[in-house]
């Protein structure tokens, strides 16, 4: 039988058109903003460009949610989504924005610090683009982004990234990592500009206490840790002891003075703030994770990690129950609350009084869905 080449060509053209349309729609879907419904105590929504105008209306111009109490007190920054592939930090920020009530002081929440990174995924990782959570209003979809800024916003990567101003050398990929960019500079790369704007925010808003929420692979030694600048040590250690009473174990880690670009180092060195960075355990980031899908983000269940844990080589608590997103978010929020409490103990004349955020046990019992609008 003779095959008509025109028919074959037309069929292939049609097939390619379908593939392009489907992948194009998926590609553009990553530019659809995540929706957040702030609590009634919201005072205003600001923009990062309010602190560095060059970012205005660009892909780094993320939202800042302001909550101001009637009584004066400390100002706290809760920065989430530095690495958009670390879901618990972002969702902890969303949950806090949607539930917090404030009696004294001010709370500023940035749920998506690296907004650019939410618009793409990391190449060669096979990551899902999004995941869906149950909420009071039904299903809500959230983007699962990249560890770093979108290459469409900053390209090409150099072979070696030289941090400003220390001159510290890191791999070229890290040039788009917000948490290697601090204190940033106004005439630097896209990511350095975002880092610069965040440092300007900390200075201009006179932030007293600041948090940067992260996740890491189970094999990374600093998971389930609270990392602090040396000036935050007493506040952090006091909080860690209080968390122990709840059977919540956080390893204390002091920020190395010679490791530059990280929030816990540069915020502390360049501003008056007491900085903290917290990490939870996220199997989807690990090398042993196996099947990579949105289920893994939500359940944190990985048979491969369980097998690895059984070899005795992992240094974390990991069992067949996995490390579900509810638990990771609950850890972040409880750590945040205990550090705030500890700060209040050290500075009783300038406290911040928060309500409405679920305690660790409540969040585990009721689930995330009961706290998302």
């Amino acid at each position: 039988m003779k095959i008509d080449h025109k028919i074959v060509a037309s069929f292939l053209l049609f097939l390619m058109t379908v593939v392009c349309i489907v992948s194009g729609v998926e590609f553009l879907d990553m530019r659809t903003p995540d929706v957040i419904y702030p609590s009634e105590d919201l005072t205003k929504i600001g923009k990062l460009s309010d602190y560095f105008e060059e970012l205005k209306d660009g892909s780094g111009d993320t939202d800042i949610y302001f909550f101001e109490g009637k009584e004066p007190g400390a100002t706290v920054l809760l920065l989430c989504g530095t690495h958009p592939n670390e879901a618990s930090g972002f969702i902890a920020g969303v949950l806090a924005t949607e539930n917090v009530k404030i009696k004294a002081g001010r709370l500023l929440i940035i749920p998506q610090a690296c907004l650019s990174g939410f618009s793409c995924t990391d190449p060669m990782e096979g990551y899902p683009q999004s995941y869906t959570l149950e909420s009071k209003s039904g299903e809500r979809k959230f983007r699962f982004g990249s560890r770093v800024s979108n290459p469409l916003d900053q390209w090409p990567d150099p072979l070696v990234y030289s941090h400003f101003p220390s001159g510290q050398k890191l791999s070229g990929f890290e040039t788009r990592n917000l948490n290697r960019s601090y204190p940033g500079r106004p005439d630097g790369t896209f990511t350095e500009k975002v880092g610069y704007a965040i440092v300007q925010l900390i200075k201009k808003e006179k932030i007293d206490l600041a948090f940067d929420l992260h996740e890491a692979a189970p094999e990374i030694p600093i998971i389930n840790a609270i990392i602090y600048h040396e000036k935050s040590e007493d506040i952090g250690l006091n909080a860690i002891l209080n968390l122990e009473f709840r059977d919540l174990r956080y390893a204390p880690e002091r920020s190395p003075e010679n490791f530059h670009g990280l929030s816990h180092r540069e915020w502390g060195d360049n501003t008056d703030v007491y900085p903290f960075l917290m990490e939870t355990c996220n199997p989807i980031q690990g090398r042993l994770r196996g099947r990579t899908n949105s289920e893994l983000i939500l359940t944190g269940k990985s048979p491969q990690y369980l097998a690895a844990q059984e070899t005795g080589k992992l240094r974390i608590e990991y069992d067949a129950e996995g490390v579900p997103l509810d638990k990771r978010v609950a850890r972040h929020l409880q750590g945040f609350l205990e550090i705030v409490n500890s700060y209040n103990e050290f500075f009783p004349e300038k406290t911040i009084l928060l309500e409405g955020l679920p305690e660790y046990e409540d969040l585990l019992e009721n689930g995330l869905s009961n706290y998302l609008k």
């Binding site: 030694p221 002891l241 122990e244 174990r249 920020s255 190395p256 240094r315 974390i316």
Partner: protein, 182 residues
């Protein structure tokens, strides 16, 4: 058979007497607290002593000369790459420092208390190297249970013939620590 029974009883009695002697042994100040592996757990140890109203000096990188006048050395083993980075030293340099410190403590007959509060996060790999180093000269061990799930400390305490006090949480380590000095 009678001889066997007598020997068993004798051994039991000796074990009992040794354990009692360890428990009743009083430690005294001045107390020096140091790390073995540069984890920040050493700072938590300082807080625990403070809660027991015990005065102690914490020198994270104590050297042999810092033992002058010290009557008890508390060593908190636990490896931290961030801690080593903060201290600006390598793991080998840290191990050498710890070995020299412990050697000097032994020469000066300063009792060494091992305090492990970091749980699983401060076990295996490099952490275990520091733990074994410290355990080898310790006269008392206080350990948060999570760090002893594989029985390493039980084994080390047995080998060293010293008392091992296991506690379930870090804050609960304060009490046995305080008792040593009261």
């Amino acid at each position: 058979m009678r001889l066997f029974k007598s020997l068993t009883l004798l051994m039991l009695a000796l074990t009992f007497i040794t354990t009692q002697a360890q428990e009743s042994k009083k430690y005294e100040g001045p107390i020096l607290v140091t790390s073995a592996g540069q984890s920040a757990d050493v700072k938590l140890a300082g807080l625990l002593l403070k809660k027991q109203k015990l005065e102690a000096e914490t020198i994270t990188m104590a050297k042999a000369e810092d033992l002058k006048g010290v009557k008890t050395l508390i060593v908190v083993p636990g490896f931290s790459s961030k801690g080593l980075g903060a201290a600006g030293i390598s793991a080998d340099e840290e191990l050498k420092r710890v070995q020299e410190l412990l050697k000097q403590a032994a020469e000066l007959k300063i009792p060494v208390v091992l305090l492990h509060i970091g749980g699983k996060a401060r076990r295996q790999g490099q952490s275990d190297n520091f733990i074994k180093e410290v355990a080898g000269v310790s006269s008392y061990m206080i350990v948060v249970e999570q760090g002893n799930e594989d029985g390493l400390f039980t084994e080390l305490a047995k080998k060293q013939k010293v008392k091992l006090e296991l506690v379930s949480k870090i804050p609960l380590a304060a009490e046995p620590l305080g008792k040593l000095f009261k």
